[in-house]
């Protein structure tokens, strides 16, 4: 019932505004890409959108793994765009725009610039796995997208930061460091929603790093 009423108000607004002649919508190519550089999106609006996104996905999956995979795919779509625009904003005015070709600067770029572009602050830590040479971890003590999410007990494995993992995966893919990226809950006493984004790089990446080292 509440849904219906929302629909009807929306249509009445549409009706009123259609009486006023609207100026033609400018082409997306005419917009300035730097206009929204420092603009923020309302946190509650985003939380609402993200909660709908999780619910929509949840109603179409068979289990937690599937749900995380789908959130990852959605994040990937965001990540490939975030990468293009973040680098464009940083490099387009320079005489000789640069790409990242080394692994560590690329990871630092994600930790600092991508996090800042998406969440408004750098991530809290970046670590290299002690056991496996091909694993890196980005730690966020209080992920923005999970701030208003409380995961039920029987879903304890689920991490909605899979969306963030998708963003990271897209950025690494774009920069030619293919990897499998997953999100894991790693709470501690101080930060109950602490999340680790685990990056498992493909073999080819490490081989290339070895060649570039010399």
């Amino acid at each position: 019932m509440s849904r219906l009423s929302v629909l009807s108000t929306a249509s009445s607004i549409e009706h009123v505004s259609s009486n006023v002649p609207r100026p033609p919508r400018p082409s997306i190519l005419d917009r300035n890409l730097n206009k929204t550089r420092v603009a923020d999106v309302s946190g509650s609006a985003f939380s609402f959108l993200f909660s709908e996104l999780v619910q929509y996905t949840q109603s179409r999956v068979t289990g937690i793994n599937d749900l995380e995979r789908r959130l990852n795919t959605l994040g990937y779509r965001v990540g490939s765009r975030v990468l293009e625009i973040t680098v464009w904003r940083a490099e387009s005015s320079s005489k000789a725009p640069k790409r990242e070709i080394r692994l560590l600067p690329a990871l630092m770029f994600i930790h600092t610039h991508i996090w800042r572009a998406v969440f408004g602050k750098p991530a809290d830590a970046i670590e290299k796995s002690v056991e496996n040479a091909d694993e890196y971890m980005i730690v966020d003590n209080d992920p923005l997208i999970e701030r208003h999410i409380s995961v039920p007990k029987d879903f304890s494995q689920l991490s909605c930061s899979s969306f963030t993992a998708g963003i990271v995966e897209a950025v690494l893919d774009g920069l030619c460091f293919p990897a499998r990226v997953t999100a894991h809950n790693t709470p501690n006493s101080q930060y109950p929603s602490r999340t680790t984004i685990l990056i498992k790089l493909e073999k080819s990446v490490l081989e290339r790093e070895e060649v570039l080292k010399t």
């Binding site: 082409s27 997306i28 190519l29 917009r31 890409l33 779509r77 490939s80 765009r81 990468l83 293009e84 625009i85 680098v87 464009w88 490099e91 387009s92 000789a96 725009p97 640069k98 790409r99 990242e100 070709i101 893919d173 774009g174 920069l175 030619c176 290339r208 570039l212």
Partner: protein, 178 residues
């Protein structure tokens, strides 16, 4: 003098192509090979053979007084040169961190310059004369409209760019810089 632009998706599928005929005077490059070649016109592969041998004068088609190369029969040769240069580009882009890779490959009279976007899409330009600064400005402008197009949620990096506004913008900057 003609320029050929190809935009390739991260998986190297062509998603946009443009042939631009520059109005600027071309520096005439003598092709010694062309003078020694027999007339191929009776062969079915005339266009391919002469274009591959670099004898551009034999395949030039005159339309309305302007000389056009690569837009007609020998279009597939241009595509082949662009495809072949991908190997050279992949080698260079692993080692160099610039986005603009100038003159990465050469084939007869054609020079291939490339621009790699951060998301690993490639812009390829086949050109005949040296014009580093113009090509750089051209690539940077194409990059801007490319980013704007990719921000559209209905467009993906894998899909052909059909937007007429995009086409218009690219043509305008080609006219300006090439």
């Amino acid at each position: 003098m003609s320029h050929h632009l190809f935009i390739l998706s991260p998986s190297d599928t062509p998603i946009y192509s443009l042939t631009h005929y520059s109005t600027k005077p071309a520096a005439s490059i003598g092709s010694p090979l062309s003078a020694n070649l027999p007339n191929w016109s009776t062969s079915a592969f005339a266009g391919t053979l002469t274009a591959l041998s670099g004898a551009s004068s034999a395949t030039q088609h005159t339309t309305g007084g302007t000389v056009r190369v690569g837009g007609g029969q020998d279009r597939h040769v241009i595509q082949m040169i662009a495809n072949a240069s991908l190997d050279a580009i992949e080698d260079v882009m692993r080692k160099e961190n610039g986005m603009y890779l100038k003159a990465v490959d050469k084939f007869n009279e054609w020079t291939v310059s490339a621009f790699i976007t951060p998301g690993n899409s490639k812009f390829l330009l086949l050109h005949e004369s040296k014009n580093d600064e113009g090509i750089r400005s051209f690539f940077v402008e194409v990059w801007e409209v490319y980013v704007k197009t990719m921000m559209n949620p209905f467009q993906s990096a894998q899909r052909t760019i059909v937007s007429q506004a995009f086409d218009g913008r690219v043509r305008a900057s080609a006219k300006k810089h090439l």
